[in-house]
Every structure is written in C-alpha cells, then in structure tokens.
Symmetry: C2
Subunit: 391 residues, 2 copies
C-alpha cells in the first residue's frame, strides 16, 4: 500500500506512452517526436491528427485520404439536430457535446467493433463530427438553422463556416487551425486520463470520450479559457488591471490563465497565441482584448516578482480567450472548442489504452482509499430500526 | 516520481473516504459504518441512499421527506422522451443513459449552483430520474409508450412498474429493492473513481455521473452481469456446464461472475443473491437459470481446486444475472440497472470529492507517464514538408 492522498496522482507514472512528452522545465511540448512549435509553423490540424493517431507523419496520398475520410464523416444524422431543438437554450454547450457523443455512437455501425481499425474509424468520425455538433448547437440556440459543412474548406475553416454560415477570412481560418494544433494533445491531463480510465474497463470509444468531455468542462481544466474571458470582461479597461490583479492576489485568489502545474517556464503554446493575438488585432482592428491580456500578464508577473520573489508565466488559456473572442466565437464555446481540438489526443490515448503492447495488459484503474468514516468495531454498527431511533 | 505502470493504481491510496470500506480478506462490505448484510435484511434502498448521502441513518421524519423528494423528482421533462424516440432502437441502454444525464442537467435549475445543498438536490434528482429514463427507453425501443411513475410504490417497485406498466409482485419488488441496496456502493471502483476524477476538475455533478456511467459500461466492470447472462444462454443446460467450464479455463479464459479483484473470500453480496435466486424460483416456478448458475459456480470452484490448487468465489455479478432475468428485466438492461443503484454511491463520492475536508484541498487527478515514443534527441525530430517525404 502506498499513501498518495489528495495529490491528484502527481508524480505517479501510471503507464508508458508514445503519444506526447511535456518537458516542464524547458517548456517543450512534443507530439509523437515533433516539437509542437515546428508543427504549428508548417503543419495542419488534419496532419497533426493523423500523426497523433498513426504515430508518424502521413505521405501525400495518406493525408489526401485522411482528409477525404474527415470530409465524408462531417455530416451528422438529422436526429442530432432534432434532439438539440428540444433542449432549453440555456443548455451549456459542453453538456450538449457530452450528451451528443453517445448519441453519435448509437448511429455508428462501427460501435461494437473493437478492432483497432474500427477504433481509428470512430476517431475520425468524432474528429469530423464534433465541430458540426457544436456549431449547430450555437445556431439552434440562437434560432438559426444549422449550416451544413462545405467541401473545399479545411477542418478549421469548416467550423468557422458552420458557426457563422459565411466563408471565414483565410488568415483567420489558418490561425484557428493553429489553435486546434496547439490544443490537440498534452499527455495525461485530467480529461485524457478520464478517457483512458473509462477505456480501461473495455468501454467503447464514445463512452470514454464523453467522460473526457466531462472532465474538460471543469474550471480547473479546460473551463479555464472561458474563465479568462470572464476576467477580461470584468476588468474591462487597461487602467484597471494593476489594481485588480494586486487586489486579487492579496486576497489569495488566482489570476486565470497564469501559472501551470507542469510548466515552470513559459508554456510554449502561450508565445504562439500571444503572436496570434497581435496578428488578429491587425485583421480585426480591435486591439482592446489583446492589450488587456498583455497588461494582465505583465501585472501578474510583476506582482509575483515583487510579492513572492518568483516568476509566473502565461499558460495556454490566457491568450486563447482574446484570440477566440476576436474570431467571433462566443465565450461559452471556448471550452467546447478546446474539445474539438483535444479529441485527436483523446482518441489516440484511448486507442493506446485499448491496444497497449504491455504484457500483462494494463489493469483497469481502481485505486485504493483509507476508510476514515464511522466505525463501531469489527462487528460494524448496530442497525437500529427506524421507529426505535432517537430523533 | 514513482513507477506504478499498468497496475491500475492498485494499492495506491488516493484519498480518505467516509463512505464505504471493503475488507477483502474477511468478505465484509461496510456502508458508512453499517454492514451491507445488516442493511439488506432490514433497510430499503431509499434509506440506504439517505445514509450514503448524509453519513447517518435518517429519522422517520427525514426518511419521509427524502422519499417525498424522490417522488416529486421522479418524472422527467417530456423532451427526454422525444429525444429517445429519435434514437435507433439498437442504441445501447447504457449509452442512452449516458446521453440522458447531461440532458437532465440542462433542465435542472440547480445545475450551476455548487453549494452542498444544491449538490444533494442534484443527487436526489438523479437517483429519482434514472429509473424513469431507463424504463422509458426500454418501452420506447419496443414501440410502447412510457409508463409514468406512480405514487405509493417504493423506488424499486416504481422501476419494475414503469418497465412493465403493471404493478409488480410485492415480493419481487422487495427483492429488487435488495439488489439496489447491494449494488449501491463499493468504494473506489472504476466508475466511482471516474466520477471523482471528473469532479476533481470542478465539473458539475451531471458531467461526473455521465463519466461514471461510461466506466460502468465496460465488460471488466458493470458490463460483467450482462456477460454472465450471455454465458448462461450459451451453455443452456446443466449437463453442458462441466465440459464448458473446463474447456473455457483450459483455454485461459475467464468464467464471468467468478473471482474478484478485492475479495479473497466469498463476496458478501453473492450469498444474498444466491438465496434470492432460490426464492425467485419459488415465485416464478422457473428453476432453470438458478440451477445453471449454481452448476457453473460449483464446476468453476472444483476446477480451481483441482487445476490451480486454490479457491475461487462467486462475485456480485454471478447471481445478479439469473435474478434479473427471472424478474423479467431484459439482459442488456442488467448493467444500466447496476447504474440505477450505484448512482447513490457515485453521488456520495462526487459530493465527498467536491467538499473534501482535507487541507489543502485535493488536487485534480493528473498522473504522470513515461514517454517511450519516437525520439530524435533534445531538438526533436525534424519536420520534413510533405512533398519532400519519401512515400
């Protein structure tokens, strides 16, 4: 027996993985051997998804066929839209996504096929369909008809198109593609671990992905990017940043988007998003959010140096908020958009869990705990019939 | 860093819990200080649910009010039925349940209220509504109208009523109540851990419960009771049991329902269900399933003694299968019925995770892993543009 209470399994290696590596000291994130910084400079979300699923970059022919599989799976069964039309418009988009996943599974003829090939097919189906579901929900809750996916646009471009029913600016679509690549994978984070945990019971991929979506929705995980947006809206003006940040820290609060459990230097993704933020100011002419975010980053760093004598760095969520906002994505869609990207990493991990090469096969996750509750000795407490209990 | 690879966190204590204690050596299962054997003799699922949620037995007044809260939450919003009518009739009931949970959440005005009181309310809502959802799905997929819950029946009786649209035999309803009590809680099993893991990110209860349902669906976990029924149907006759079991074990296969990761003696729940099996033979006049199950238990024990020189014991799933079958529950509803019971344990654990008394608060679950994938040295692999890659 080993005591590892309340530390969230930090520092406990539960498996080998070939999928990604995070070097928190150097601030390096590797997907299947490639630095994420190199990938976002030259690759696409489609290629990165192939890489994550197949453990190597595709040939031209393989990428063509992967893209055409995505295109052919992008439409969702009509009942999905009918289902959404019956939901209250207040239904949180993460919850709609979580509910839609087992429904998509029930329409998938591959559902009960547990070969690796079928699981790769389910992965492509989920990567292709989640953006369609999410964009449709945003339109339906606003009383609009879903915009069907269009051929010829990238995966990223298709989402922006389906959201607005209008062809996106190519530069913005490319930047959104970059966001999707950046968020696609991050080792055994809480949502990925939830997906692997469910897959370890031999549940199918849809059940596991729905669990991962649930974990991502928490504000300590994927929910953080919407929390950053709430903070930007609350502060409102650059002049208010300094006093807001010092007040917040003085009260023992956190500045959302700053600091990371794994990175002890700058999150490599934050720099890319900071550059993108500036680029989007050029495109949209609206510098407010980007300036506000930089001011928050600066003020928080200064407060940490002064008050705590240590450095703090922006994480992936800080600039995501203003970037998504400038792309016209509603703030309660930020976390679901994270899911549209992370689905590639989740699927790769679920497949790794299901087809692990380790012998014996990995056990299902079932940790231990210490019972510290009511104890009446070895015989257990006496059950007193309700009519004899003292009130 | 600690190496604990592929062992599914077995033997690693991740938290303190006041909810339940499993003594695998003595075969004792304790809910909040009470032996489950004492509870099933004298209590009801409603009282056990109160106990699990409140850490003590209720007074008469408290139990009355708990039952009336359940009764008032038993109906589900009409759109849930419309949603089910659009699903393919092949949709697995566990997937329908997993999808329905976030939908129920989206209709719950308490959804975003994270007080303990609101979480207890959500727990009562889920305990009350899951049986309604499941019974309705079985009727809808068979072209029948859902039967609304009725006042005056117990929680267990209501489920059997809603499933068949006919008042159940009181003895059978009492036995089903007993099954619900027996399956309500079992410490940090895979589904409960999945629920706690999701709650550790501060996701809401519906998101966490949907994850737990996903984990329960796996055949290594809750899915095992349906697998037992498949085995009973495959073997078919008592005369075939011996040869089937020895053939199965000779080939390195498992006999479903036999053996347990935690119990090294008889699972205390198995004995209760064995007695119930015999009792239901008296009620239904059909001894086939119970005799077949006892023959399988006997043959497996004998093979283990002879072949492996050790004992093996029935677990909770072995007799559940024939018991549920004699109650007229379809075999693909066995695992969802497990969920109707375990929801009380899940909710108690999710509340314990959210309102843990430990200081500092438990961290979100985020284990480590060893990267063993492609490695090109500290600089990472060179990204070669696709047109320059060798085919």
């Amino acid at each position: 027996m080993l005591e590892a209470k309340n530390i969230g399994l930090r520092g406990i290696k539960v498996a080998d993985t070939r999928i990604s590596d995070v070097d928190g000291e150097k601030g390096v994130l590797i997907y299947r051997g490639f630095n994420v910084i190199d990938l976002v400079r030259s690759s696409t979300f489609e290629e990165v998804s192939f890489l994550l699923l197949h453990d190597r970059l595709p040939t031209q022919e393989e990428l063509r066929s992967f893209k055409s599989a995505l295109a052919s799976e992008r439409s969702v069964p009509e009942p999905i839209f009918q289902f959404m039309k019956m939901l209250p418009e207040s239904a949180p988009p993460m919850d709609v996504l979580q509910a839609a996943i087992p429904v998509l599974g029930s329409f998938d003829p591959r559902l009960h096929d547990e070969t690796k090939e079928a699981n790769l097919g389910k992965a492509i189906g989920l990567i292709a369909q989640l953006p369609t579901v999410l964009a449709a929900w945003d339109r339906i809750r606003n009383g609009l008809s879903p915009a069907p996916p269009v051929p010829g646009l990238s995966h990223a471009g298709n989402f922006l198109y389906m959201l607005k029913d209008s062809i996106p600016d190519p530069g913005m679509a490319k930047d959104f593609d970059l966001c999707l690549m950046l968020h696609a994978e991050h080792s055994f984070n809480a949502s990925t671990f939830a997906g692997r945990e469910v897959a370890s019971t031999h549940a199918h991929m849809y059940a596991a992905v729905a669990a991962a979506v649930g974990a991502l929705s928490g504000e300590l995980h994927g929910g953080a990017n919407s929390e950053v947006m709430k903070m930007l809206l609350e502060i409102g003006e650059v002049q208010r940043v300094k006093s807001w940040v010092s007040e917040r820290l003085r009260k023992g609060g956190k500045v959302m988007g700053m600091g990371h459990a794994v990175y002890h230097t700058e999150d490599p993704r934050a720099g890319i998003l900071r550059e993108m933020c500036k680029r989007l100011v050029g495109l949209t002419g609206d510098s407010r959010w980007c300036e506000l975010t930089m001011a928050i980053e600066g003020a928080t760093k200064e407060e940490f140096r002064k008050g705590k004598g240590r450095e703090i760095y922006a994480n992936v969520d800080l600039y995501s908020a203003s970037v998504y906002h400038m792309m016209g994505i509603p703030k309660d869609l930020f976390t679901p958009v994270f899911a549209l990207s992370r689905i590639s990493g989740w699927a790769a991990h679920i497949i790794e869990e299901k087809f692990a090469e380790a012998q014996p096969k990995p056990e299902l996750y079932r940790p231990d705990a210490d019972y510290v509750g009511t104890y009446c000795g070895a015989q257990a407490c006496e059950y007193v019939p309700i009519e004899e209990r003292s009130e």
